[in-house]
Amino acid sequence: MSGANWLALLQGGGITAVVSLAGIAIGLPFGLLLAVLRWLRVPVLAQAAAVYVSVVRAAPAVTLGLLIFFALPTIGIEIGPIPAGIATLAISTSAFDCEIFRGGLAAFPRDQLEAAMSFGMPAILRFRRIVLPQVLRNVRPALINEMTLIVKASPAIAVMGVVDITRAAVEIGAATYRPLPPFLAALVLYSLFVLVFVVLQRTAERRARAEAVA
């Protein structure tokens, strides 16, 4: 592989990183919102969130991406390939994040909420100061695990013509007639991404354990 090939692959790495991270950054708060809607049993919205999560969790990223990329323009929303890729990953991860947050919220001890209520804490403050910090700490490992899954689902955006790591590797392989070297290089790049999250995960788990003891 030539220097230009490596550069193309690294550029793909940049695209994979940007699209995945943007998808995670949008999907995470959206997932939390859905989980809170279900936790508070807001009428209609809670049921809508449940259906959304069930459908999106079952939808392959490729199919979801095709739906977003091709169908949005037909209802008058022009969307470029990269925003469509980000939207796909954000929607996909929000459903899984919702389930993770929901588990964390369901496991939250009731007595703490009641204690906060007896001190006259308003609902929003109660959520922000008492519930959220503890739930976030408990679900952190699961959330980070979901982030690695979204990086691994990210090649789905290739169907929109976005040149991420996988697509760059395919193009190099097609141009040089030697597909294996770029694929192996791509494998190394993805492993590095996953490794970053694994290290994050270990640190998060160690910290969660230390905080639980303290």
Binding site: S54, V55, R57, A58, A59, P60, A61, V62, T63, L64, L66, L67, F70, A71, T74, I75, V151, K152, A153, S154, P155, A156, A158, V159, I165, T166, A169, V170, G173, R178, P179, L180, F183, A186, L187, Y190, S191, V194, L195
Partner: protein
Amino acid sequence: MSRGWLIVWMHRGELLAGLATTLWISVLASLASLALGALLSIALMSRHRMTARTARSFVDTMRCVPFLLFVYVVYYGLPSFGIVLGNWTAGLASLIVYNTGYMGELIAAAWRALPRETIEAGHAFGFHRFTLFRCIILPPVALTAAPMIGNQVVQIVKDSAFLTIIAVAELTHAATNIQSFYFVPFAAFLSAVLLYWALCVAIESGVGLVQAVAERRR
């Protein structure tokens, strides 16, 4: 909008044929990767250092590769070694090998949680090696791992959508065909998403059923 649904309805045969392919390839891949994963879990739990380490590095590699990249390696990479597979075989083979890593790890995790007494009692009753695995270890492990295995089967169904990129005529491919011919993206892809949903709901209730039966027989 209603034109789109009408066109999809008129081509429901094509869509259902795609669904059948998705179903068929997912069932084959699930069964094969489950069986191979059970064998892999034996290697993962082996006291033989080299065996355990080789199995572990296989699992770790599979967990680092995105499925699509793996499909490309099998489809475009293997011909460099003189192994040429058709798109259907390449797709099925990738699904099986990739998910064997995940299934093996799931089973090994449930195995690790098995109390030592069960295995020691098995030894005392004269169960050894493969019979020990088949009669004493596997049944409780399969039951504890069942929900995880169900999740992995859902993942196999979802991964099979990637095979549209190497032109396997599965559900997403059928939807893409209808959309590119009549330009009805909304109806075509939403139908596909809803069919995947139905498939996954069916798998999840199947796992629930198995667990209910197992619970009653305990």
